[in-house]
Symmetry: C2
Subunit: 321 residues, 2 copies
């Protein structure tokens, strides 16, 4: 196929994944890459429908994100949450004043009957994003963290309890009934689709929820298209978030090979960081192709370079070289 | 009755009324004065239940109000509404970042089954207000402005259209089914209740909605307790808001006598400003007692003085002198 017609899908969670998505959006026009985003983190809070990963990707692609912390909006103020505290409201989830707008808008649109996919399209269009961001499903899927202290809703674990509880596993409430939207189905069925990139997000709580939507997980497992993943573990640590901590608690080695093993039935290729070259053979032993790249993305150039690497890797797998 | 046991009710709209309420709250302890507030201005906007007059009184009594404009909160920021605009949201109603908290809290509490009265109690308590603020009803009443351009929801007229349309009348949707809460009923039935003050609010859109709740309007009309009102019209003009403009459009003279006439079947006494002495005889001719006071409240001392005047006036009416 003419390279200029090849289309790609990128699967992403929040902060870590959004970095690579920005790189992909920089090198591929809106008709050539679609982003499919975890909604297992979504929750209803203070009457608002909050979709943290959709928001992070929206802010990132719109150039509105807070580059220091990687989530939320730049130049954010916090007067709403201070006032909420004053009234005795639940203030453990830090909602910025500007950030509130996307939650209020989404909640209103959903209430008026729009799907999460339609809502996301309207919100992303309004801030000038040309690329399509699709929630993994329009049906509610809620990640539950099984911890020593009992089951926790994801945001209770992640934000309220600051990832402190030891985890023993995860489940994805609602995933058994969740289907992919007609918009996502159309992407999967598009004959121009040439491959899938799994961004360097947390495998357990950012990527597994997408796999848990059977229609999507089954498609990924059975597609003949190359599916590649980028390791979120570099030098034995996670770039961002609790991935490494979770792996320890689950008694999984904090290595890229362990992540590759986790994905093994879904992927064809795995990208590891330069400082993890030593794991190449272990990953090849899993039957996977592997490349080494600079996966730690600090600058926009890093994001673009890694995005190019990922697309080149898919092309190589497609060409059979 | 022992003066220290006398209880009072004050009826109020937003800004103008809240000034006098602050004066009353300064001279009467929480067990001696209860505030009954217009909810005809309430509306649902962006999924939030907004009660502008309850909010104004809450902010005023809690010392949180913006003293320059008389509504909203001091030190307010506007990042939410700016972001909402960015996403193409409805931004005609200016919601401050801090102000959002009370709407979000109220909406949540109402959704969980609390009455507006219970919600108001929880919110006012949490910011240290000892006095009781009661909505005029827990049932929805919505002021409709009949204008040359058709019927308008109150906030569309008041905020979106900046009171520009010429008005021909008002109606109070839902008032025919609205009852007073058991909390307000208990105040009305309290044997210690000694009189009622109608604050200098807009008669048409701040006070009439309360009268339109038949159970309350009938009680006011039939009670043997003194009911007094303070003129919102001073020197032919309204201190605040569209009262005088409305009177013109309704072909009513913009005089304190016209306001007294409007209230005549509900009140026993009427307070006019010093510069309106000339209207004394016209008001007496309506069969009403009248006193002259300084009704323009600029400082806290002004608010307290007028409050004391109002209470003294009721006492005089009660003692028959």
């Amino acid at each position: 196929m003419n390279e200029a017609r090849e289309k790609y899908l990128a699967i992403s969670g929040g902060v870590g994944g959004a970095k690579l998505c920005l790189g992909l959006a920089s090198i591929l026009s809106a008709d050539r890459i679609t982003f499919v985003v975890n909604t297992g983190d979504d929750f209803e809070h203070l009457g608002l429908h909050i979709s943290p990963d959709l928001d992070t990707l929206t802010y990132t692609l719109a150039g509105l994100s807070n580059r220091e912390v990687g989530w939320g909006r730049q130049g954010e103020t916090w007067n709403f949450i201070a006032a909420l505290k004053q009234f005795g409201g639940e203030s453990w989830f830090n909602l910025g004043d500007s950030d509130l707008a996307i939650h209020v808008m989404r909640t209103e649109m959903l209430k008026s009957g729009a799907t999460l996919t339609q809502t996301t399209a309207a919100l992303t269009n309004s801030v000038g994003i040309k690329h399509t961001i699709l929630p993994m499903s329009d049906d509610p899927v809620r990640t539950i963290v099984h911890s020593e202290g009992g089951d926790l809703a994801f945001q209770h674990y992640f934000v309220r309890d600051r990832c402190e509880p030891n985890v023993s596993g995860f489940s994805f409430q609602g995933s058994e009934r969740a289907t992919v939207s007609k918009e996502l189905r159309a992407c999967l069925d598009d004959p121009a689709l040439s491959g899938v990139v799994i961004c360097p997000s947390n495998p357990y709580v950012s990527i597994d929820p997408l796999f848990a939507v059977a229609e999507f997980g089954d498609w990924l497992q059975s597609t003949s298209l190359p599916v590649i993943a980028i390791s979120p573990i570099v030098g034995g640590e996670a770039i961002k978030g609790p991935t490494a901590k979770m792996m320890c608690e689950l008694s999984v080695p904090t290595s890229p090979a362990a992540v590759a093993q986790h994905y093994v039935d879904k992927i064809d290729g795995f990208v590891i960081d330069e400082r993890d070259r030593e794991w190449r053979d272990d990953i090849k032993a899993l039957g996977l192709e592997t490349i080494v790249a600079q996966t730690v993305m600090v600058t926009l150039a890093d994001r673009i370079d890694l995005a190019q690497c990922a697309i080149d890797f898919i092309r190589r797998l497609n060409s059979g070289n």
